[in-house]
Symmetry: C2
Subunit: 285 residues, 2 copies
Amino acid sequence: MNTPASRRTFFQRSALVTGGFLLPDEKAQPTPPNETIKTIRSLRSTHGNFLDKPLPEAALETILQSSLRAANASNNQSYSIVVIKSRQMMKSVCGYQGGCVLLYCADYTRIKACAETMGYSYDPKTIVDFVTASTNTALAAQTAVIAARSLGIDSLLTNGIHRGDMDRLWKLLDLPQTHCFPIIALVLGYPTEEPNHLKGRLDGPGIIHSEKYHALTKEEVGEIILKYDDKDSRLALNDDWRAKYKHYLDWFFGDWMGLRSKPADQETQMLRLLKRSRFVEPPQV
Amino acid sequence: MNTPASRRTFFQRSALVTGGFLLPDEKAQPTPPNETIKTIRSLRSTHGNFLDKPLPEAALETILQSSLRAANASNNQSYSIVVIKSRQMMKSVCGYQGGCVLLYCADYTRIKACAETMGYSYDPKTIVDFVTASTNTALAAQTAVIAARSLGIDSLLTNGIHRGDMDRLWKLLDLPQTHCFPIIALVLGYPTEEPNHLKGRLDGPGIIHSEKYHALTKEEVGEIILKYDDKDSRLALNDDWRAKYKHYLDWFFGDWMGLRSKPADQETQMLRLLKRSRFVEPPQV
């Protein structure tokens, strides 16, 4: 299956919607990119190697202002952003340290307080409320990422906050016990070194669907597995797997994801805390 | 409380982190904005009034490519994007029509198919998996919004997909029954008319927290309620409330949110479908 000819067919098919993203030499970009598109194309995550250097206040202000410009359901801004500049606190909260950390939380506390002050009974406690608020929250976070990158500030979006004892977040940051839930931490700062390449992305079958969902064929699944092995695709998190495995996804599923030895208590913890946060409704009786 | 003096104090306090976002004349922007920041500052939602005009293919390609550049956990791209160009389908899916609709779904189907083909047992069925994937999905969606705006294409992010009979999405679009869940629909297109102003955002206490979460005082809650009433804040969804109510939030909570007459079955529907999607784990026994 892994012949140049069949791979080429697959790449062409996989690039049917996008402009040959993974094979830029095969298809020219449709129009010259503007500055915003260039910024977006240059996005990369910095994993841990941030300088111990705070952000300029003016940059942080611009990033926060930008973040708030993201759309949000009914303009009720069902989120909170905790700005953390203490390096010890950054580490305790998300496991990383940078110029600063923005902790993005789905949060109805403020809205509920307004409602109750005005005599309305408002209890946004269902999974619908959670999905709405967590989506609003992530939209705001990504807007901050792009704004930061345009200012020469790199980032790491990490769900490190969901690892370990999650309740530490409530204790460390005085988060409200109900109607507030941490979604993602955004570490901002300056990397100690430039990455030597941008990660690639899958962009064909299984990612982009035209008009209706296309269920992958066995052949397409096989081709995706091979695509991860292709150095030019840049899809892999590292290159170390080559010494040990036939396929990158063997390393990914076996070593990285730890399948077959996955602990179960982490999952239960999040559901328990979402229940305490009142976002998951009790079973119907 | 609503005297110019106390309001000014509040606005100054509320602008402690940001650059006086809601009162641009009170505090100069710290640095001249670059093109990306300008794009982000110009973001606005188009509510329904899109022209019946398709997007240029090149623009759609650029938007999709950009969307994929968002960071995602372990580069496993746990999402799918269904590109809908049929106007009838757009309407049925999310209640709106534009140049096209991108339906963003949290989706492990592709990754699970790869794992199973390779002999790994992978069942991303917990709320942790759901929150991780739905966050990745929203990050990608917001990147598309910003890319589109830079190309002169407006948008509406809508959770209209979560209203009515949600199961229609699975039926209309052949979505997989498990491990796939629609998070947000992005309508892209050209508005019939320019909005006469951008919506404002709260940016002070209750939104931005410094180092730790700041629980709102009663006074701050009162000031936020008044802030929504201030025409200059542009926080309100409309101005019609002034004829009927003392406060905007009376219209918002009473008429818009329909508090006191909220139907309960919608919430139960999402939890039921999330369970069917295997994202919410069964109760511990």
